[in-house]
């Protein structure tokens, strides 16, 4: 075997790699689809050109991100079978139908109306275009709902029986779909997608403000993004806390790893802010900790005992260091987001919202923070479930396909090269689009006739001129 890597480890690396790349795009497109629906709605409602300018601006970014999400998503829908065939066979009767519903109720809806949303403004009326945009946004949310139900079932499985060939078979569909961790995970992820986009939009606006090339459209998007940051971040922190308490109830071992609690604390556990997990000695080196605070947060009582990883057999323990660190990265970003949100409120109050260079710099730096937080959060929860695929019932090592290590190594290398090349290029194109400010002139040239709107006479004239020109050319 080359590199002395087992087929299992290679398959795990491949899954982690492909799904990490993939989640970036849905996180982006879930938030952006809703933003586009809002922008189109505002355009129809208020008839202000800046909203149409923003819609057309972000539409191009959306089209790129969505395309990358589709192609990296098709990979995921086959990878369960190619690399995790035993998992597929055993969980198929329970999880397969939920995924089928995702395809039927979400993927087709997005794909079916995406073409109309992107290309259709001249071919359908304004209300149909609005409908198509709303359907795309609704589709992305439906997709999140189903796939998070599937994913949550793998943490908190219920509503199933086991048949004579060892498959999980459905017993109570309601219990399967609405398994205990699902509502928390769904809320946490959808809010994360909204925040991710808010900070991307905010950073784009901040960049053009810093470059002194911000028109009304740019100011509007910066303002909308910062409202989202100020309002949604506290909600997200609250939702994350509830999610954590749910995890403590159903997957205490993951919380032990997140908290870095190697030892049990019968008289109240400390909150370890930072430190270096030492897996050999089973302790946190150089720990900076606040006594009893962990018990207060998790149990709402300073002296409540908390079990540590010493109560868990080593063979059932997740890799502590990864979970410990990724959790801290997510939390730090969450509070940084909160900071920027509060700062923006303060700047608004002081009337420096569009002039404060430091606020704009901070918002610019925070641009990619949502993606990092989303990845860190997923690493925390997924690695925290190890060594199981279905928590406490099916081990990762028992889920694998009978595919030889060289085959998996080959495909892994191919995925890495292709993903970095293709999605690297896509990320470059997205950044290049965002580096140009949205312009109102664009709206007229790009979209041709604005017959949809009762806009100002000047614009109507321009667009009818354009239409006449087109006719002459034909």
């Amino acid at each position: 075997m080359p590199f002395d890597l087992s087929a299992e480890l290679l398959a795990r690396i491949q899954f982690a790699f492909t799904i990490s790349f993939h989640i970036i795009f849905p996180a982006f497109s879930i938030g952006l689809a809703s933003y586009l629906a809002v922008l189109n709605g505002l355009w129809l409602w208020k008839n202000e050109l800046k909203y149409l300018a923003l819609f057309n601006y972000w539409k191009k970014v959306f089209a790129l991100a969505f395309g990358m999400g589709v192609v990296s998503g098709i990979v995921m829908s086959y990878q369960f079978g190619t690399n995790w065939s035993v998992f597929s066979d055993i969980t198929g009767p329970v999880l397969g139908p939920l995924m089928a519903y995702e395809v039927l109720s979400a993927f087709f809806l997005e794909a079916g109306f995406l073409g109309i949303m992107l290309f259709g403004r001249e071919r359908v009326g304004p209300s149909l275009l609005m409908f198509a945009t709303a359907m795309v946004a609704f589709g992305t949310l439906m997709s999140a709902t189903w796939i998070l139900s599937v994913n949550s079932w793998m943490y908190t499985p219920q509503g199933f029986l086991i048949n004579d060939v060892g498959q999980f078979v459905p017993d109570d569909w309601w219990a399967i779909v609405f398994n205990p961790s699902f509502p928390y995970r769904l809320a946490h992820m959808v809010l994360a997608a909204f925040l991710t986009v808010a900070f991307v939009v905010g950073a784009t606006g901040a960049w053009h403000l810093l470059k002194k090339q911000a028109g009304p459209a740019t100011k509007t998007m910066f303002s909308m993004a910062m409202w989202m940051a100020a309002i949604v971040t506290p909600i997200q922190i609250f939702a994350g806390d509830l999610h954590g308490l749910n995890t403590l109830e159903y997957q205490p071992v993951k919380v032990m790893a997140m908290e870095g609690h190697y030892d049990s604390h019968p008289e109240g556990a400390p909150l370890i802010l930072f430190g270096i997990p030492n897996s050999e000695e089973k302790r946190i080196d150089y720990a900076i900790q606040i006594p009893k605070l962990s018990s207060l947060i998790l149990k709402h009582d300073l002296n409540e005992p908390l079990d540590g990883l010493d109560t868990v057999p080593d063979s059932d323990e997740p890799p502590v260091a990864i979970v410990f660190w990724s959790f801290r990265i997510m939390i730090s970003i969450g509070f940084a987001m909160l900071g920027v949100g509060l700062w923006s409120l303060w700047a608004r109050r002081r009337g420096t919202f569009y002039t404060s260079k430091w606020l704009h710099r901070a918002a610019f730096i925070m641009g990619p923070s949502g993606f990092v937080a989303v990845l860190a959060g997923w690493v925390t929860t997924e690695v925290g479930r190890q060594p199981f695929t279905v928590y406490s019932l099916l081990r990762t090592s028992d889920s694998l396909s009978p595919v030889a290590a060289p085959a998996v190594a080959t495909s892994l290398v191919a995925f890495i090269i292709v993903y970095f090349f293709v999605f690297g290029a896509g990320a470059f194109y997205i950044v290049r689009l965002m580096s140009k400010p949205p312009s109102e002139l664009d709206t007229i040239l790009d979209d041709g006739p604005l017959r949809a709107a009762g806009t100002t006479p000047a614009i109507q004239m321009k667009s009818s001129d354009l239409k006449a020109n087109e006719r002459e050319q034909l």
Partner: protein, 334 residues
């Protein structure tokens, strides 16, 4: 037991795969024909003929995969490891072609790169789909609910033959689709390509049809046993009739007849594969009934499917209707 749940589901999955083959068939076919466009504007038109619908077309592939996972998990869990290489290569190829739809409008310097990526991705994806078909027809070794063959078993002269057959067939669907969507010089060129890809596809179909019954005695029996032969003969006869309609449509320079007759040929070939396979879902040993998930899974999924598939078909049809007619070279949001 004709109308039990696994049987209904086999029909729905077959329908999804057929829909995929038809829709992404012309979609990939346009990609295969891409390098033969003489000028930039032709390539723009070719791509724009499918740009608003390609994503929906490809979703049927996810439906095929997701559907198998849901209702025939054992087929999903045995066929995919067996076809590990061709499936993985197909997925990578689909990435290259899928991103090209947006990328090539975002750059001038690299436009050629994404043109090649669109062609190469389409060609290789089609080739791999054909190889997957060939490998399935040849059969997949299963023991104890697991694939037990090697990781190169899929690569045989027969699977390579079916691979190129699908490439040729998709190119035929692509060229006849473009006859509908274009006019002028580009349309004339597509008619010429149809005169190449129609005969080549029919020759491939002929060879594969002669070879297949001898790959597995069971296939031979499905086709030639008495009295089944009365029904099965209808398939080649209808292929001949469709071929005549295709020839006639090309001669009379019709817009729609060549595409519709090519579709008919695809549907008939698909039925042919069904006749060989039934009642197996993964030949030679895994049957539809054995691979099926328990009835509760099938029923739960069927309720939604019965409502959603007609809905999907109607809004998909609507999207095609919105973008009907010849492609206007100046249209597009880029």
């Amino acid at each position: 037991m004709m109308f039990d749940l696994p049987f209904i589901w086999a029909g729905i999955i077959a329908f999804s795969i057929l829909t995929y083959v038809i829709l992404d068939g012309f979609d990939l076919g346009v990609g295969i024909l891409f390098p033969f466009a003489s000028e930039d504007q032709d390539r723009d038109v070719m791509m724009n003929s499918i740009a608003p619908v390609w994503d929906g077309n490809e979703t049927w592939l996810v439906m095929g995969g997701g559907g198998l996972f849901a209702v025939f998990p054992l087929a999903y869990a045995t066929a995919l490891p067996a076809l590990y290489m061709p499936i993985t290569i197909m997925l990578l190829a689909l990435i290259f072609r899928g991103v090209a739809f947006e990328y090539r409008w975002r750059t001038q310097r690299w436009e050629r790169v994404w043109d090649i990526s669109f062609f190469g991705g389409s060609f290789i994806a089609a080739l791999m789909q054909g190889i997957v078909l060939g490998a399935l027809v040849q059969g997949i070794e299963i023991e104890n609910r697991q694939y037990v063959g090697g990781w190169w078993d899929w690569l045989t002269p027969f699977s390579v033959l079916t691979g190129f057959a699908v490439v040729s067939g998709y190119a035929l669907l692509g060229s006849t689709w473009l006859i509908i969507k274009t006019d002028g010089e580009l349309q004339t060129r597509m008619r010429k390509f149809t005169w190449i890809f129609a005969p080549s596809t029919l020759i491939f179909i002929g060879i594969i049809s002669v070879v297949t019954p001898f790959l597995n005695p069971v296939y031979f029996e499905h086709w030639f046993a008495f009295p089944a032969i009365f029904y099965t003969t209808a398939v080649p006869l209808l292929v001949l009739y469709s071929t005549w309609r295709l020839y006639d449509g090309l001669k009379k320079k019709g817009d729609f007849a060549p595409f519709l007759s090519s579709l008919a040929i695809f549907v008939l070939c698909f039925i042919g594969v069904g006749i060989s396979f039934y009642p197996h879902i993964v030949p030679p040993s895994l049957t539809i009934a054995e691979a099926a998930a328990p009835d509760s899974s099938l029923l739960f999924t069927l309720y939604g499917t019965a409502i959603l598939i007609p809905l999907i078909l109607s809004y998909t049809a609507y999207a095609y209707w919105v973008f009907r007619g010849k492609v206007d070279p100046k249209e597009g949001y880029h």
